[in-house]
Subunit: 217 residues, 2 copies
Amino acid sequence: MTAPSDSTIIIADDHPLFREAMIQAVRNCVPGARVIEADQLESLQHAVESTPEADLLLLDLNMPGVHGFSALAWIRSNFATLPTVIVSATDEPAIIRRAISHGASGFIPKSSSIARIESAINAVLEGEVWLPEGITEDDGGLGDEEADIAALVAALTPHQFRVLLMLAEGLMNKQIAYKLGVSEATIKAHVTAILRKLRVTNRTQAVLAMQELNIEE
Amino acid sequence: MTAPSDSTIIIADDHPLFREAMIQAVRNCVPGARVIEADQLESLQHAVESTPEADLLLLDLNMPGVHGFSALAWIRSNFATLPTVIVSATDEPAIIRRAISHGASGFIPKSSSIARIESAINAVLEGEVWLPEGITEDDGGLGDEEADIAALVAALTPHQFRVLLMLAEGLMNKQIAYKLGVSEATIKAHVTAILRKLRVTNRTQAVLAMQELNIEE
DNA sequence: GGCGTTTCTAGACCAATGTCTAATGCCGGC
DNA sequence: GCCGGCATTAGACATTGGTCTAGAAACGCC
């Protein structure tokens, strides 16, 4: 238990029961830790932006609005000092290695025992990279295309990334403007910036580009 | 060899080498068969539309422009009498069962031996359903959402389906019109029809809906 | 505390998208 | 053979989407 007891740890998972279990594990590891929960990307964004001093993020790969590595790529870019551990239902080595290549500090399959989860949390808090048994880190890396798009997505600002996620839900500019409480003209400006950064020419292509970071194989 | 030697068989696969191997297998099974090749969805559409008397379609799941069951769903609807066997690099039982639920008459993993492929072709030509060893047909079926969307996609006309595939590439109406040799106004009419049939309100949502039929898990 | 840079905001303008109406041609049923 | 329904085509019109310009606010850097 080398971590200071005033650590702040963010847990992002849309499943309340699992979130509860993770909180227990965290409390066992770091008794006095402050735990912040997020059940969707919006609350996660709020959490990381309002607590830049956080020591660890436990991130589920499949939450409403994000089904893949786009959230990880963006967080790694905008909050590079925040160690992030991916928590996922899968345990496929290929996906685990992709997560590490995208900058994750560890990978915890949801099938892991509580004891192993606690080991993982402790290891990452001490600066190590934690992987499930039998997985080696030094391997492959990402496909060219995937790495390229991750870099482009990482260049987005927080607002732009949020808008991109809404584009990926098929929302109109007007709906996005309402949700974010700004004018439609503002959203249009964000969309233009997104298209430029992702090097595409319309919103459908932007959504398709981001989906390159999805999990599917 | 109960199949008549004047059978017509369509082979759709974007990999020339593999297509060649399949042709060999088909010729062994049905010596006098007429073989039609297609290397992408456009040529496949042309093939099925111009040879309604075809006896069998061997369809790869991953071709340029189609990455999933959308092509199968649409073909089953518009050419219901054409037995279709899925040929795919995967051998995951879940995907195989999804293929059968979408109306495929068989499933051949690309890892199969020539002998097994020939067995499969013969079986399907005689009206049976052919599955790899160890896979049972009677199971599960599709998720509600997937079945629903398959039904909506199946309702599209050939032209509409082709336009939808181009929407899924992020093309503009103008580009689609040029490719299909019609006016932009025509494409707009098609898009409107597609949106209605898929029960969505813009092209991005249409693309997202179709992607529900993609392979990803 | 200033200062340049980046982000966020938004209005005006033009291009792309989607709807409505309607004509043509094709196919199946009576 | 004739009729009704549907696919396809397309023009006129309304809405949405995207670019350009530009000011205000936040942020790091002297």
